[in-house]
Structure formats: C-alpha cells, structure tokens
Amino acid sequence: MTEDMVLPAQHQPVTVGEPLLEVSGLTKYFPVKGGFPVRRTVGQVQAVDGIDLTVRVGESFGLVGESGCGKSTTGRLITRLLEPTAGKVSYRGQDITHASRRELAPIRSEIQMIFQDPYSSLNPRQTVGKIISGPMEINGVEPEGGREKRVRELLEIVGLNPEHYNRFPHEFSGGQRQRIGVARALALEPKLIVADEPVSALDVSIQAQVVNLLQEVQRELGIAFLFIAHDLAVVRHFSQRVAVMYLGKIIEVGDREAIYTRPRHPYTHALLSAVPEVSLTDDGDSAGRERIRLAGDVPSPISPPSGCRFRTRCWKAQDKCATQEPPLLRISGNHEGHLTACHFPEDPTTQARDEDIVLDPALAALEEEG
C-alpha cells in the first residue's frame, strides 16, 4: 500500500534551511512532594536541564537517549503540553514559551504531535472520522469540499481505506492505528511534527510501513520533524540531524554522518556499540564495531551527578569531570555543526579498538572465568 503512495501535487518540497523551532536553555523540573508534617516540595526531578536545539524548516531532527533521559519531556515542552521551568521556545521567531492556549491558537495548527502508543493515542469512543476531523473542528478549519472529504483524503494519504471513516479504533491493527494518528497530525497541515517514539510499539514489519509513511510525509509535504526514539537505527534512517540526550542534557548533536560514524562523546560510542546488529555480510562476526559495556543504569534525575553527568559510567572520567560541567561545543576535530559536551572526547570513529571496554563488574568476572 505504502510503496506506491500518491501524494497530492500541490504540496511542493520546501527549501530546507531556515530555523523553524528554536529552543534555548529549556528546563523542566518536576517537583517531588514529601516532607513532614505538611506535604511540600522537597526535591526536583531534573527531567530536562537546559537544552538548546534548533529544528529547521523541512528537516527531521532526531533525539535519542536512554529511557528517562527526558526525551518525551522535551517533546511535550515544545508542544506546550508542559510548562517549562526555564528557557525559551520560539517558533518562527515567535516566543511561545509561556503562551496561553488562546495565544497559541494561530500556531497550534502548525505544530502537531504523533504519539508512541497506538492504543492510547486514539479515543476508543470516537470514529476514525471524528478523530481525524477533531483538530479541524477545534481550530475551525473548514476545508474545501467539507471536513469529511478532507478526512477521506487524509485516510488515503496515510494508506488507509477512505471507507473506514465510520470505523472505531479497536477495529484496526497497531500499524493502522498509527496511520490514523499520522492522519490526525496531518489534518491541520502542520509545519512541525513532534513524533514521540512513533514506531517503537510496533512490530518490525509494521514499523517499516510507518517509517516509510512518515518519511514520505516529511519529504513530500516538507514537514519538519522532531523525531524522538531510542532505536538508533530508526533515527539514523529518518533524521538528518541527531541529538543524543543523557540525563536531561544534550551531550552530542550533529548531522547523521557525524553522530553515527564520527561520534566523539564516550556515551555516544557506548550507545552505538550496544546496538545488536544483524550482519548480512559473509565475513563472520561484526568485527568492525567496537564493544563497550556500560555499568548499571542511568542515575536518578533527582540528584544527578555533579559536573559531567555521564562521568559515573564513563571510562575516561577524571577529577575535572566531577567539578566542571563540559559545555556543548564544537570541539576540535568536529565538523561544522557537530557539537559535543565532553572534556575528554573519544576518537571520531566507531571502529573496534583493541580491547573491549567492560565496566560491568559481573560481566567482567564472568568473562574472566569463561
């Protein structure tokens, strides 16, 4: 279905380049309640802690990182589902950091969102038609030929049968639901879509359908994406520029090439090396890639480590890392636009080194024995 999807001709590719969304110093702390005898705020989850990023018109910007590092929070701050603690979000130069619902009305239609869970993202009590026409109704958009016609068009665009207009979500499979979600996001002809792990709940075979759909939408309609995912391969496939997050901070950002082939931050290295890969070449094991095994999980964002947040799991950490927070800079050896926040960056390669890095004590012990 999706392979030969036809998009309406009036949408011409837009020039990629000028910034669409600019985020600087964006911070979100969630209060932690507790205390005695009266409950009050006793701490903060530093979910997002001062990140800067720019999404340009028509580009797909990927955001990767481990669970809990603040990806979704970032996405929801940008779509104004959450109120930022600090920082600034501007869309086309307009500050929308603290805009109210009414103030946002004109640009609401331009920023849309696609969600992770195809089951919870569609209201089970509404028909597909209602779900997709909902945003139009809310914003009073009355397309030519009526909303229903537009919805049927959208259904066709996302590769669903327009006849499904009166169906309910529970009658669709996960992949199809995700398409409905995409259709809903497209309904207002947005300029920017924040996609929060749109494919991670789907099976591989379905995942590809949706990725392809998104890709075509992005290319053909010139919609910019903030693409959040934890699957590095999918991000690589979909995004032109990629930012790696760790514990509420962006630790490395750059174009696809830079991040996947010339990463500098040790964490990026570790992340890439942890991805299990199918090797289809006949040369046996994927000897070409390094192997790094980090110890433990991401520390708690309630009391993140001082200085460089990655230092507790980093094999290159030194005293300086504990005291001084590395700024996100274009460090020497980086290409234009490739920024890394590290005092002691790695070499710009993903090739295997002579020795594995194994930080996990149990693994180390077992491997010693074995």
């Binding site: 929801r76 920023i111 993202s121 209201n123 669709f172 099976d203």
Partner: protein, 329 residues
Amino acid sequence: MDGGPQPDPNTATVKVEGRSPGQLMWIRFKRDRTGVISAFVVAFFFVVAAAAPLISKLYGKNPYTVYADERPELFDSAGVPVQPNGGISSEFWFGLEPGNGYDVFTKLIYGIRTSLLISLAVTVAVVLTGILLGVTAGYLGGKTDFFIGRLIDFLLAFPSQLFFIASMPVVVSLFVSPRDETPTYVRVVALIVVQWVLGWMSLARILRGTTLALREREFIEAAKVSGASPWRIIRREILPNVVTPLLVQATYILPSFVTIEAGLSFLGVGIVEPTPDWGQMFSKASTELVLQNDITYMFFPGVSMVVFVVAFNLLGDSVRDAFDPKTAR
C-alpha cells in the same frame, strides 16, 4: 500489540459502518444468559413499580384500605389476621398486614414503587455529582483535586447511618415548618437528599481514578495539542470513556440505595405509614405482632427484595463482563 481477534479492515469494504464499543458490549451482553435473565427480572420490578396503580385497579384493591376496620371479622382485637398464613386467601393474594390490615399485595407493589423511585433518584443524583466532582478532580488535578479529595475523605469519615438518622428531621424541617404536615413527597425528597449527600463519594473516587488514568492517555494530549479547550476535552474525550465504569457502578449502587432506603424506613426515619414502602414493610415485619403470631407477612417484602438485589447484582456483573471480557470469573 495484542494479537487478539481483529476483523481485517482491508478486506471488509462492504460494511463500512463500524461497531462501536457500546455495540460490541451489547452484542456480548446479549449472549450472556444470566445477564439477560437478570435484566428481565430487574425490568419486571420496574414495570411492576410503574404499573402499580394499574395493577391494583385490576386487582380491585388499594394499599390504603384499613381492612381491620372494614372487615373486622378477619382480625382479632390486636389486628392479627385470624386466618392462617397471614390471611392469604383468594381475595387477598398475599394476605393482610397485621395491625391495620392493609392488603399486602397492593402494599408491596406500591412499596416497590416508592423504593425504586427514591433509589433511582438518588442514583441519578449520585451519578451526576460523581461525574461532576470526580471528573473535575481527576482532570484538573492540583488544588481542585486536593480539595475534592479532602471533602471525600471527610464525608467518608461520617458515621453514615447515624448521620442519616440525625439529619432526616433537619432536612425535613428545611422544607416544612415543624407545625405543618410533612407531605410524603417531602420525606421522599429528604431521603433522596441525605442519601445523596453521603452517597456520591465512592463513585466520585472511582470516576476520579478513571479520569486520572484517562488523562494520561495520549489521545487527551492529542486533543490538547490541537488546542482543545478543557471543556471540550472533558465533554468529547473523557466523558464518553467514563460511561463504561459509570454504567457498571450504577448497576451496583442502585440496589445498595434500595437497601439503604429500606434500612432508614426500617429504623422509622424514612417513609412512614400509611405510605407503602418496602423498608417500612420490614419495620412492620419486625414487630412483635408479626414475630409472635405469623411470620408469613415477612416473606413478601423479604423475598422480593432478595430477588431484586440478586438480579441487579447479577446484571451488574454481566454488564461489567460485557464491557471487559477479559476479567474471567
């Protein structure tokens, strides 16, 4: 992704109208024999209640005739029917009430009518309040939630029966000055009010929980991203999804209100003679007059209420199962 049964939407192009969750539930419910039977029993009670005047007209008696004075030969001087089994005869199908000798059959059907009317009204009031406060608390969260939550805690700490007893006269006095007649409808309204005041909390809690869970669902965020107003979100996104637990809960709370109302009348603070009422019949049934002489009378309100409550609870279970087929019993 659950691999559960899914009709293949691609192939089924002929039938374009989808089956809503409500329709699916209805289909499942119709297959549940216990549920359908219970529904008929429950419906029977409501029909009897609604048609009580008609039935008694056909039967030729009313629940207000004092047969102890009309037909003194049927009673001894204390008002106990002299015939065995509570005076059951072809004339008085369910016998005669000890005391003033009302006709038990008409008294029972009118009693059910009163009881169901009150309980239905309380249920409606409770459901509306539950929705209003529960959904508001769940959706708005923060301070509103806190205050509604504390209000619920506070009301839950009330010794409810004692409060009912203590507040009935107060509520009645709000409607009538102490020296005027208390019309039956005032008692009815007072009963509704007191049960309502202390009856809505658990439903509100459940709905709050449901709303809280719904609020986390991504379709709410989708609506927000599209700029939907809170009012629209509540109306269009949350309320339709609250209907399911609401319906299930409502089928459970209605019979419980029937028993509470009966309990109040039993204690003498509810409906009083001569207005026929289920609970008032229990209060009559527990008098020495009945206990000492002939307990036949006791069975009519007793058995009918047990049947009603059982049927309603079974109906509730079936409705719940129909909505949520996964819960195995």
